[in-house]
C-alpha cells in the first residue's frame, strides 16, 4: 500500500470512528453494512468528503464502494491526493 493510500485510509477510518460512531476496531475492509449506520450517515460522509477534497462524491458512490478500502479507491480515482 502506498503512503498516499495509507494516509487516506487512516483519515477516513478516523472520520467514521470519531464522528459517526463506527466501532474502534473498524478496518478498511469492514463493510459499511456492518457498522450500524443510520440512513443518513453515508450522505453526511459524502458531503464531508466532497468539502474536504473539493470533489463531488455521492452517497450512492459510497454505497457502491462498500467499505473504506473501496472509498479510498474511489477518491483516488477522482484524483484526490493527500
Amino acid at each position: 500500500m502506498s503512503t498516499q493510500t495509507q494516509t487516506l485510509t487512516d483519515q477516513l477510518l478516523n472520520l467514521i470512528v470519531t464522528k459517526y460512531e463506527a466501532p474502534a476496531d473498524t478496518t478498511a475492509e469492514t463493510s459499511f453494512d456492518l457498522l450500524d449506520f443510520d440512513s443518513l450517515v453515508l450522505v453526511e460522509v459524502a458531503v464531508a468528503l466532497s468539502g474536504w477534497y473539493n470533489i463531488t462524491v455521492s452517497h450512492d458512490e459510497l454505497n457502491d464502494a462498500g467499505n473504506i478500502a473501496g472509498t479510498v479507491a474511489l477518491l483516488e480515482g477522482k484524483g484526490v491526493q493527500v
Partner: protein, 338 residues
C-alpha cells in the same frame, strides 16, 4: 440620496395545534427516537382544517408591523411580499388578500415562489424595491401550511414539515452603517434538478381536466438524501460567496440562521463553513421544517430568547425546491420581536 434597506420589525405566528413525535408515532410506523435522531425535530404545529396560509400570514404580518411601531392603515408600508409554497389558491396570489386584511390599502402586493428559499428571495426583492427608491417600507412575509400538501402515505415528509409564518418590515435608511441594514444578498438556482422537490400536479404541466384530479399529484414529494447533500453544498457555497463579497471573515459570523430543515444539515453546514456548531441557530426541534416561514420563525425565536443581540453579525441562508438557494447578511438591529 442613496437608500439602504434595514430590518425594522419582526413577528411570527404558529397555529395552536402542536403535533409531537409521539402523536405521529400513533399515525405512522415510526417513533420519537427515529424522528429525533434523523432530523432533530421533536414537535411541529399544524393548522386546523379551514385555516389557510393567508390566515397565518395576516397574524405574522400584524405582529411585524407592531414590532416596527407601524399602524394597520394605508401608508404604513408601500408593498407586501409573501413567500409561500402553499398559497390559498393557485390564482390569485395570496399577498393582496393579506394586505387588504391588514388594512394596508391598495399597496403593491405579490407572492414569491421559491419554496424553502422563498423568504430570502422575497427579502432580496423587497430590499431592491427600497434601494431603487420604489418603496420606503415593505412587509416581507414567509408563510406556509405544508400540512395541506403532505402525502399521508409518505412518512418521511409527514414527520418533517410544519405550518407557521414569520415576517419582517424592511425600512429605508440613508445610513449604511445602521444595524439591520442588509449588507448583501446571494441567490442561485438549478432548474435541471427540479424533480428533487416537487408537487407534480396543479400547474400547466398537468392541464386541468374534467373529473377529480389524482390526489397523489397534489402532494409534495422530496428525494431526501439528494436534497440533504445539495442543501449543505449550496447553502455553504452561497454563504461563502456572500461573505467574500462583503468582507466578513467566516469566524466573525456570530449567528448562522440556516433554513431549518434538519439539524444534521445545519451541523454539516457549520462544519463545511468552518464555524462552531453552536453558532447555528436551531428552532426546528419545536417547529419542524416550515419552508418559506423557516428563517423568520428562527429569527423571532432567537430574538425572543436573547440570542440575537444588537450589533451581532447574522448570516441567513436557505435552500429549497427549484432548486433554489440563497444567503443574506446583516448586523442585528435593536428591535422587539412580536
Amino acid at each position: 440620496m442613496a437608500h439602504f434597506a434595514a430590518v425594522a420589525g419582526l413577528g411570527s405566528y404558529l397555529p395552536p395545534r402542536r403535533v409531537t413525535n409521539e402523536e405521529l408515532a400513533t399515525m405512522f410506523d415510526t417513533s420519537d427516537e427515529w424522528i429525533t435522531t434523523r432530523t432533530g425535530i421533536r414537535a411541529r404545529h399544524w393548522a386546523s382544517p379551514g385555516v389557510a396560509t393567508g390566515d397565518l400570514a395576516v397574524e405574522a404580518g400584524h405582529r411585524a408591523l407592531k414590532s416596527a411601531d407601524l399602524p394597520l392603515e394605508p401608508g404604513a408600508v408601500d408593498a407586501v411580499v409573501l413567500a409561500t409554497t402553499t398559497p390559498d389558491h393557485p390564482c390569485p396570489a395570496t399577498a393582496p388578500q393579506v394586505a387588504a386584511r391588514l388594512g394596508l390599502g391598495t399597496v403593491a402586493a405579490y407572492d414569491i415562489a421559491a419554496v424553502c428559499s422563498g423568504f430570502l428571495y422575497a427579502l432580496a426583492t423587497a430590499s431592491a424595491q427600497i434601494t431603487a427608491g420604489q418603496a420606503r417600507r415593505v412587509l416581507v412575509i414567509g408563510a406556509e401550511t405544508y400540512s395541506t400538501i403532505l402525502n399521508p402515505a409518505d412518512q418521511m415528509t409527514s414527520v418533517i414539515f410544519g405550518d407557521g409564518a414569520g415576517a419582517v418590515v424592511l425600512s429605508a435608511t440613508p445610513d449604511a452603517d445602521r444595524p439591520g441594514v442588509l449588507l448583501g444578498v446571494d441567490l442561485g438556482s438549478d432548474g435541471s434538478q427540479q424533480n428533487l422537490i416537487i408537487i407534480p400536479g396543479g400547474g400547466s404541466r398537468a392541464r386541468a381536466t374534467p373529473g377529480e384530479p389524482d390526489p397523489q399529484d397534489r402532494y409534495f414529494s422530496m428525494q431526501g438524501k439528494k436534497v440533504f447533500a445539495e442543501a449543505v453544498t449550496r447553502m455553504g457555497d452561497s454563504t461563502s460567496a456572500l461573505l467574500d463579497r462583503i468582507g466578513w471573515p467566516v469566524d466573525s459570523v456570530d449567528h448562522l440562521v440556516g433554513h431549518q430543515a434538519n439539524v444534521r444539515i445545519l451541523r454539516a453546514l457549520a462544519q463545511r463553513l468552518g464555524l462552531p456548531e453552536e453558532r447555528a441557530v436551531v428552532n426546528l426541534d419545536r417547529v419542524g421544517n416550515t419552508s418559506a416561514a423557516s428563517i423568520p420563525l428562527a429569527l423571532s425565536d432567537a430574538a425572543a430568547a436573547g440570542t440575537l443581540t444588537t450589533g451581532s453579525r447574522v448570516v441567513l441562508t436557505a435552500f429549497g425546491g427549484g432548486l433554489t438557494w440563497g444567503a443574506a447578511a446583516l448586523t442585528w438591529p435593536d428591535l422587539n420581536a412580536a
